[in-house]
């Protein structure tokens, strides 16, 4: 368990333990197995924004689906407030869990059914989770809309196609806030929103954490916004968390070679900081998934024999967890 990582006063909210998810590609008789999520463990504490960062296809969305209970992991468990969520079988129990753990999605235009009015989702959420006192009690909905800076009249009776991406994402957040959740899972919430409006959503997360006590699991490929908004961060590559810890530590002086390359490859919005050396790109994504041992070995400048054999367990150095033989750690028998 990552002892070093969580300091005492932080109360644990949700914890993933050795998650593993196997994707079977090729149907019928030609099955080949692919480890989309491989031995992933992390936790999100109360009143904290934890980021899960990585390239597209590194398994972060699969992890979010497992956490939300949409996907049964091949191996590993998820504990919410120290209760194993796998035991939730009856719909009532699942609803209780959903009341506490809500989510918003990547494409605002796909979050709502284009043929249904937007406010029908808000009413459903309020009705099904018992947030409505009387029949027409819209207080909870108005409150949620108010906290994202929208009014009831702007939303009532309109279809998704009549809003901009930014507005839809705010309505989606409002829908999630109706049940007063303690954890909000945000899967790439701003990648489809215009750069100038992106900050309004990201600042909203900060405000939710500070004023509404909602912790956020922020999933993204954009390290810049991750640095700006989160407290702790986990970097994922091809299904594994290869570095995790305080965002200042991990992003300001990254240890794992992949995190270093990732940070260098993000273009800085500053003409003076242009790139210099060249970079090599992967031939085929699936090739790297199938590789035994450390999946970054193909492109790593510091490759060692044991890297090809297998990845190290969790090594703690400079206040963060890293899985790389460069930083010691014994060979697992």
């Amino acid at each position: 368990m990552n002892k070093k990582d969580n300091n005492p006063e932080k109360e644990e909210l949700i914890r993933a333990k050795n998650l593993q998810e196997v994707f079977v590609i090729g149907g019928g008789f030609a099955r080949s197995r692919l480890l989309a999520v491989d031995d992933v463990s992390f936790q999100v504490n109360k009143n904290e924004i934890f980021t899960l960062a990585g390239e597209s296809g590194c398994g972060k969305t699969t992890v979010s689906k497992i956490l939300l209970g949409f996907l049964e992991p091949t191996q590993g468990e998820v504990y919410y407030k120290n209760k194993f969520i796998g035991d939730l079988r009856k719909w009532e129990e699942k609803k209780e869990f959903m009341k506490e753990v809500q989510s918003i999605f990547q494409n605002p235009f796909e979050t709502f059914n284009p043929l249904r009015k937007v406010d029908s989702y808000l009413c459903d959420t309020a009705k099904y989770f018992g947030m409505m006192k009387g029949k027409g009690d819209k207080k909870a909905i108005e409150e949620a809309l108010q906290s994202v800076g929208l009014g009831m009249e702007e939303v009532e009776g309109r279809y998704p196609s009549e809003f901009s991406g930014g507005q839809l994402q705010r309505i989606s957040i409002a829908r999630a806030l109706i049940t007063k959740p303690s954890l909000l899972v945000a899967d790439e919430p701003v990648s489809m929103v215009d750069a100038s409006l992106r900050m309004s959503i990201v600042n909203l997360f900060k405000e939710l954490r500070d004023n509404h006590g909602v912790s956020v699991l922020y999933i993204t490929h954009d390290l810049a916004t991750a640095y700006y908004v989160s407290d702790r961060i986990g970097i994922m590559f091809r299904g594994n968390i290869i570095e995790m810890g305080d965002v200042e530590e991990v992003l300001m002086n990254p240890k794992h070679p992949y995190t270093q390359m990732l940070k260098q490859s993000i273009p800085e919005a500053d003409p003076k900081k242009k790139w210099i050396e060249r970079v090599s790109i992967t031939e085929l994504e699936t090739e790297e998934y199938m590789r035994k041992g450390c999946k970054f070995a193909g492109r790593c400048a510091f490759i060692m024999e044991k890297c090809k054999d297998h990845m190290p367990e969790e090594i703690f150095v400079d206040g963060r967890m890293v899985r790389c033989w460069l930083y010691g750690g014994e060979k697992k028998e």
């Binding site: 507005q167 100038s196 600042n203 490929h221 273009p267 800085e268 790139w275």
Partner: protein
């Protein structure tokens, strides 16, 4: 000497929905000049008309899009040719030899059922006669690919066998095979993972240095602009609101919209509060009167609500379309 100029260029999407007609003013009276031997970046949010502007200057205008007014000048062999007048069959000869096009990262721009080499041959033979297959086509092709650092096995494979980054670099090689004077790139790095994006940007820089041509790069990502472009034009609601050297845009933005755009960019190591542009982007089918940014602009003045500010040179080689800067300039 500008290699490409537009004067009062207008192109709208004409949509007939049921009874009434709707005009989406995607390119709204644009006059711009692009120099030779430079990488000119066009930045702007989604729905500001930058991709439509690209399609219009490449004459890739398909209904419902229609070029409504103004003219486009190419500097062909030293003299300006108004491309709007050139007939399609005549203009076809210019395509790829004079101006070529790089599509978005996510688009499958190559014919899925023929090998990559076959695609290269189609584009090559459309403009150049091949009498000796080996000497006229295969040799130059191999040289071109190795110059761009692409493995030869790409030629024998089909598009679906290549990874996203590899396919995009192959398309760039295809767009530069005939060494065109202008290369137009529409969001070439979107939908690519960040490492492939960096490789693509590197490739574009090398090509520009190698062939001394002009690259017009459109992307919403200001950081990509910072890394590759020499000059940037900021587009908003179908118009150019500011144009200057890249360093100038980042250090001393004049137009309020550009200021917000630069201020809202998250930077590593800087956790200070980043403001966001208030309000929502305008819909191009019913634009506000006067300056289209005035509903969201904190410095709005009466004149802004009535007239549309022209794109005017306020400092040296730094144009902006805002009464605030041009008024001061005037005083």
């Amino acid at each position: 000497m500008d290699i490409l100029k537009t004067e009062n260029l207008k192109s709208y999407y004409i949509l007939e929905m049921g009874t009434e007609k709707k005009e989406v003013k995607a390119v709204n009276d644009v006059t711009i000049g692009i120099h030779e031997d430079e990488i000119y970046g066009i930045a702007g949010e989604s729905g500001c008309g930058k991709s439509t502007f690209l399609k219009t200057i490449c004459k890739l205008v398909e209904p419902p899009l229609r070029m409504v007014g103004g003219s486009i000048y190419y500097a062909v062999d030293g003299k300006y040719v108004d491309v709007a007048e050139v007939k399609e069959e005549e203009f076809r000869k210019l395509r790829w030899k004079y101006i070529s096009y790089i599509p978005q990262g996510s688009m499958n721009a190559l014919n899925p059922i023929i090998r990559v080499k076959e695609s290269f041959k189609d584009f090559f033979t459309a403009h150049q006669k091949i009498n000796d297959e080996k000497k006229d086509f295969e040799e130059p092709l191999k040289q071109h690919l190795s110059a761009l650092g692409l493995p030869m096995r790409v030629l024998k494979s089909y598009p679906h066998q290549l990874s996203g980054g590899m396919r995009q670099r192959t398309t760039i090689a295809l767009a530069t095979i005939l060494k065109p004077r202008i290369i137009v790139a529409d969001e070439p790095t979107t939908a690519l993972d960040v490492v492939a994006q960096r490789a693509v940007i590197q490739l574009l820089k090398d090509i520009q240095k190698l062939q001394k041509n002009t690259i017009i790069l459109v992307t919403h990502d200001m950081a990509v602009h910072a890394n590759i472009t020499d000059r940037i034009g900021i587009m908003y609601a179908g118009m150019f609101v500011e144009e200057a050297k890249t360093e100038e845009i980042f250090e001393n933005p004049l137009h309020p919209y550009t200021r917000f755009l630069i201020a809202s960019l998250p930077k590593m190591g800087d956790k200070s509060y980043k403001p966001s542009v208030p309000g929502t982007p305008p819909s191009l089918s019913n634009l506000p009167p006067g300056c289209p940014f005035h509903p969201r602009c904190p410095y709005v003045m009466d004149i802004c609500r009535k007239e549309r500010p022209p794109l005017v040179e306020t400092n040296t080689d730094h144009k902006s379309a805002c009464f605030l800067s041009s008024k001061e300039g005037l005083q």
